[in-house]
């Protein structure tokens, strides 16, 4: 049996752990740069607030309903996520962290010692006790069904957050009530095609002939159908594949026109890419930069630039990658535009011990690698960006807008919760 454990309204729940006065109140979390709504508490969902709504358009509405908005605090969410996942890992040796707030766990064989429902209750209680985050638990023979069981556990209060689909009867009953569009992996096009063929529930779907599914929905659809029937086709991914590319890009907190400030942002993103490469012990052979104006402001002149640089010798060196990113910026930057977003993407990633050397290479690589080692050691010990390359700048005028940011209660000494003893 597999379990899918999903944190309930994760971002909202994180805010509540350190600010319990938010319990029972509608809250929403805004995307980077306070752009649009990316997460809602149940109370906010009940008010009919849409996911993805632009914040500046509905700000007044939210105030009227006393909805509290937060900028996204990924430091806080990341720390709590890690605590939740570590807690889950104590229950079984096999865990696939699927996203910041969901994990698949393998409970193969555990049914013999009985009471998956009890294990589920125990998981829920332990995670809540450790972290204050409420979770829902769904058990089923396949990942697709576990996802579905989780949905049932979350939507039906009577399940108390744990749903176990351990018999064919229970599986069939739940397939009858689940809309095909709510099945894991079914996108809008899939749904439309199936609806056109009178398939509305997951149960309708498993009754389609396999030949039809294969010819109309390919092997992906067939695999989904088998999974829903309880035949395991997708196993846990216990190791993550090496990344094919690394992208660091942000929207600016405000429009930028000054090349030197954009260069500062670009240097920061390049430096972050280099750090990620070194953490993975990989190097990149292609560096691409992007620089965009705001395409939603149709009244302003538009410019979307990107520039790709191929390297003779792959690298993960901060100074070198910054250097290329700034050269690329030189090539594409044009005066007279109001820029909204820039980024650095590195690709052509290979392990660092498999570098093809170049005869005409004139960079002192051993010296650079010493510099990087010192950079990483100091920043690991004293905190990110204690030591950095000069072009990264100090003022960060390009920084994101995050006006409603909560504190990093669990990770910063100066942000700890205040406990009143008066």
């Amino acid at each position: 049996m597999y379990a899918l454990i999903d944190c309930n309204n994760f971002y909202a729940s994180c805010e509540r752990v350190f600010n319990p006065s938010l319990n029972g109140k509608p809250i929403v979390i805004l995307s980077n740069n306070d752009g649009c709504i990316i997460a809602r508490s149940n109370e906010a969902k009940e008010l009919g607030i849409d996911m993805g709504g632009a914040y500046y358009m509905i700000e007044k509405d939210l105030k009227k309903h006393n909805v509290i908005a937060f900028s996204s605090n990924y430091t806080l969410y990341g720390d709590l996520s890690q605590r939740v996942m570590n807690t889950l890992a104590e229950f079984t040796p096999e865990i696939e962290v699927y996203s910041i707030d969901e994990s698949f766990l393998n409970f193969e064989g555990f049914e013999l010692i009985g009471g998956l429902n009890n294990i589920g209750k125990n998981i829920k209680a332990t995670v809540f006790r450790n972290t204050g985050i409420p979770v829902s638990v769904g058990f089923a023979p396949t990942k697709t069904l576990a996802k579905l069981a989780n949905r049932i556990a979350k939507k039906n209060k009577s399940y108390n957050g744990v749903c176990v689909l351990d018999s064919n009867e229970k599986i069939m009953d739940s397939l009858r009530i689940i809309k095909i569009g709510d099945v894991w992996g079914v996108g809008r096009q899939f749904e439309a095609l199936l609806n056109n063929n009178n398939v509305y529930t997951a149960y309708d779907f498993i009754n389609l002939p396999e030949d039809w599914v294969k010819s109309n929905l390919s092997v992906v659809g067939l695999r989904m159908q088998k999974e829903l029937k309880g035949i395991k086709c997708i196993s846990l991914e216990l190791t993550t594949d090496a990344k094919k590319n690394i992208c660091t890009s942000r929207s600016f907190g405000r429009y930028l026109t000054d090349k030197s400030i954009i260069g500062e942002a670009m240097s920061n993103f390049a430096s972050r890419c280099a750090l990620k490469l070194r953490k993975d012990k990989t190097v990149c052979s292609v560096i691409q930069i992007i620089l965009y104006t705001n395409r939603f402001k149709l009244d302003q002149p538009q410019y979307f630039a990107n520039k790709t640089i191929h390297l003779d010798v792959p690298t993960n060196n901060t100074i070198e990658i910054i250097n290329y990113a700034l050269k690329a910026l030189d090539l594409v930057y044009r005066d007279g535009y109001r820029y909204m977003k820039c980024g650095v993407i590195v690709s052509g990633i290979v392990p660092e011990n498999r570098i093809q050397q170049n005869m005409f290479d004139n960079i002192d690589r051993s010296k650079h690698s010493k510099v990087n080692n010192i950079l990483d050691t100091l920043n690991n010990r004293y905190g990110a960006d204690v030591l950095k390359v000069g072009s990264l700048g100090v003022a960060k005028q390009w920084n994101l807008k995050a006006e409603k940011l909560s504190k990093c209660y669990s990770t910063r000494w100066n942000d700890l919760i205040t406990i009143i003893a008066m």
Binding site: T131, R412, W413, A421, M422
Partner: protein, 142 residues
């Protein structure tokens, strides 16, 4: 930024035992007494996933050694014993007190450790959470 003050074991420093049987000559008599170094993370934190810190404001717990400005190590997973010092959430703020639960009266008493303060009696209908048990107090003396 994230690892600056987060509580994990990444900062622990482990010194390996000396393998003195490989060394020629007379082994140092002190090697038998070599120990791993003290790792405060390991000594002060038993459940890293459930441990958080908070800073005290006020002196209502001063006789229990909790002073204004002290940092508390809070373990959410430790069971509350009667009279444990715990961080609670009451009517909109975090507070720290000794907690006594009276099941029969359906009351919780929050006891200060300072004669200038009075016991707070929490009734059933109040917004009240026992957030975590205080396991250590960190005080800056220098």
């Amino acid at each position: 930024m994230i690892n600056l003050y987060t509580i994990d074991y990444s900062t622990s420093k482990l010194i390996p035992f000396s393998e003195n049987q490989l060394v020629c000559g007379f082994p140092s008599p002190a090697t038998d007494y070599l120990d791993l170094s003290i790792d405060l993370n390991k000594e002060l934190i038993s459940n890293v996933n459930a441990t958080f810190c908070g800073r005290v404001k006020g002196n209502s717990m001063i006789d229990a050694g909790l002073e204004d400005g002290d940092v508390l190590i809070i373990d959410r997973s430790k069971p509350l014993k009667n009279n444990s010092i715990a961080v609670c959430y009451l009517d909109g703020e975090f507070t720290v007190k000794r907690v006594k639960v009276f099941k029969s009266k359906k009351e919780v008493h929050l006891l200060p450790s300072n004669k200038n303060f009075e016991t707070i009696i929490v009734k059933e209908d109040q917004e009240f959470i026992i957030w975590g048990v205080v396991v250590y107090t960190i005080k800056k003396n220098y």
